[in-house]
Every structure is written in C-alpha cells, then in structure tokens.
C-alpha cells in the first residue's frame, strides 16, 4: 500500500454505511511528498462544493504538484462540483502540474462526460491507472 503522510481528515466520518453519505468529506494525503491524493466522499452538489471548496483548492492547487482525485465515494455531482474540479485543474495546470480523476461511479461519470471533462482531463478507472497516467 502507498505510504500516506500528512493525513488530514475533514468532516464527519461516523456515518452509518446504510445511508447515503450526505455531507461532503475530503481526505488529503500524499505519495512520498510528490503527488497529492484527495479522496472525496458524499454529494458534490452546490452545498458540498461550497463546503470543501477552499480546502480542495488549497490541497490541490497550492501544492503545485500532480494530484490524484478519488471520486469513488462521490454519489452525486452536478455543475457546481464540476466547476470546482475545472477551476482547480486549471489552477494546477497554470503551475505546470496535472490533475487525474479516478473511480467515478457510472452516473457521476456520465455527468463528467456530458461536461466534456474527459476531453480535457485524464479520467481513469482506478488509482493504479491514475498513477500510470502520471508516470506516462
């Protein structure tokens, strides 16, 4: 397994597994200090994007290094969530680094593709694929 240093857990973590996670959570870590890893869980709707926006931007853009974003825990995304991903990817690109999204659930993936995000960002299935994409 990858070594996660600098692990920060934000938000409520004691949700019953049977219920859909409503509040957006974000967990920030890194791989050997070279790659940022952001795991998102919950609904990335307007309220969710508002809730994590500043921390997401700080965790991704301010680090100025490649970033992997794990969407596997995201049950819903719409335009405000996409806006956060685009603005952060754009900010990171301006610093010379790329952002890779992975693990999106099918209905979330549909929304990403409708927004044509798959045309301008790497969107892959797994963390291993995401790491391979960064390496390639």
């Amino acid at each position: 397994m990858l070594g996660f240093a600098d692990r920060v857990v934000i938000g409520d973590t004691a949700q019953p597994h049977t219920l859909e996670k409503l509040r957006m959570d974000m967990e920030l870590s890194d791989i050997d200090g070279r790659v940022s890893v952001v795991r998102l869980a919950g609904r990335l709707d307007a309220a969710g994007a508002e809730r994590i926006g500043l921390r997401f931007t700080a965790g991704v853009v301010a680090q100025a290094r490649p970033a992997l974003v794990d969407l596997s825990g995201v049950s819903f995304i719409a335009s405000m969530g996409i806006r956060l991903l685009i603005s952060s990817a754009k900010g990171l690109k301006a610093k010379g680094a790329t952002m890779v999204l992975y693990g999106a659930q099918p209905m979330v993936q549909d929304v990403l593709e409708q927004a044509a995000l798959d045309q301008i960002l790497d969107i892959v299935a797994s963390e291993a694929d995401a790491l391979a994409r960064l390496a390639g």
Binding site: A47, S79, I82, A89
Partner: protein, 134 residues
C-alpha cells in the same frame, strides 16, 4: 406535491428530501432519481444565484407531479425576469487552459428533460421541466 422554499443553497437539500419522499412509492430507476436530483439542483441554484439581487425575503415555489409517463417539476420565483433557455451552452473547450468553469447547469437539465419551458407569468419566472419515465 408543493413546497415553498427560501432562496438559499440549503433549500436544495430540503427539496431533495421532500421530492424523494413524494416519489418513493413510484419506484423510479436510480438513473431517473439522479436525473430528478440534477434538475432540482441546477434549477434551484440558478434561482438562488441569479434571480434576486437580495435574496432575503424571497421564496421559490416548487410543484412536482408524476404520472405513468413523466415526472414534471415546476419552479416559480418572483425574481428579475430571466429566461435560462436564452443562455447558450458553453463551447466545448479544447484544453483545460481554455475551459471556463460555468454554464453547465442548463446543459445538464436539457440532457435529462423531454421538455423544458420558460414563461414569464404575472411577474414571476416559471420554469417547467418534464422528465421521461421510459
């Protein structure tokens, strides 16, 4: 069902729960539920963000109905006249540098609706979105 909501972000979650409860007996597919949620989120946030220079004291009326063929969501507000259908979809960006974050909400609603109608009626914005159950 009919719901009066304050013009605030928190209204989206309130509406979502009420609409879920209302639609529960009708056994929609997960894709249909997701589509309803996208429409709720985008239409309500559009009103919250654009309809009122000062949202305090203003409300949104949401009416939802369902039959065998479709789910219809009607959004009404007394904000400034604004036809969301007059806004063009953002151009498809060729690169992340060119991407403009925004303008996608209406695109998502269009993609999921079988009909989408805007009217300015008695000083109110009325947006009616019908989603197919097929």
């Amino acid at each position: 069902m009919r719901l009066e909501l304050p013009a605030a972000t928190a209204s989206v979650e309130r509406a979502r729960r009420a609409v879920h409860e209302f639609l529960a007996p009708h056994a929609l597919t997960p894709q249909q539920v997701y589509a309803v949620e996208v429409v709720l989120e985008e239409a309500l946030m559009n009103i919250v963000m654009h309809a009122f220079p000062k949202p305090e004291g203003h409300g949104i009326e949401l009416v939802v109905s369902i039959d065998d063929e479709q789910v219809v969501l009607r959004f009404e507000d007394d904000g400034i006249p604004f036809d969301p259908l007059s806004i063009d979809a953002p151009p498809r960006p060729a690169s992340i540098e060119q991407a403009e974050p925004g303008g996608l909400g209406l695109l998502f609603v269009r993609e999921r609706s079988r009909s989408l109608v805007y009217e300015r009626r008695d000083g109110r914005n009325v947006l009616t979105v019908a989603l197919s159950r097929e």
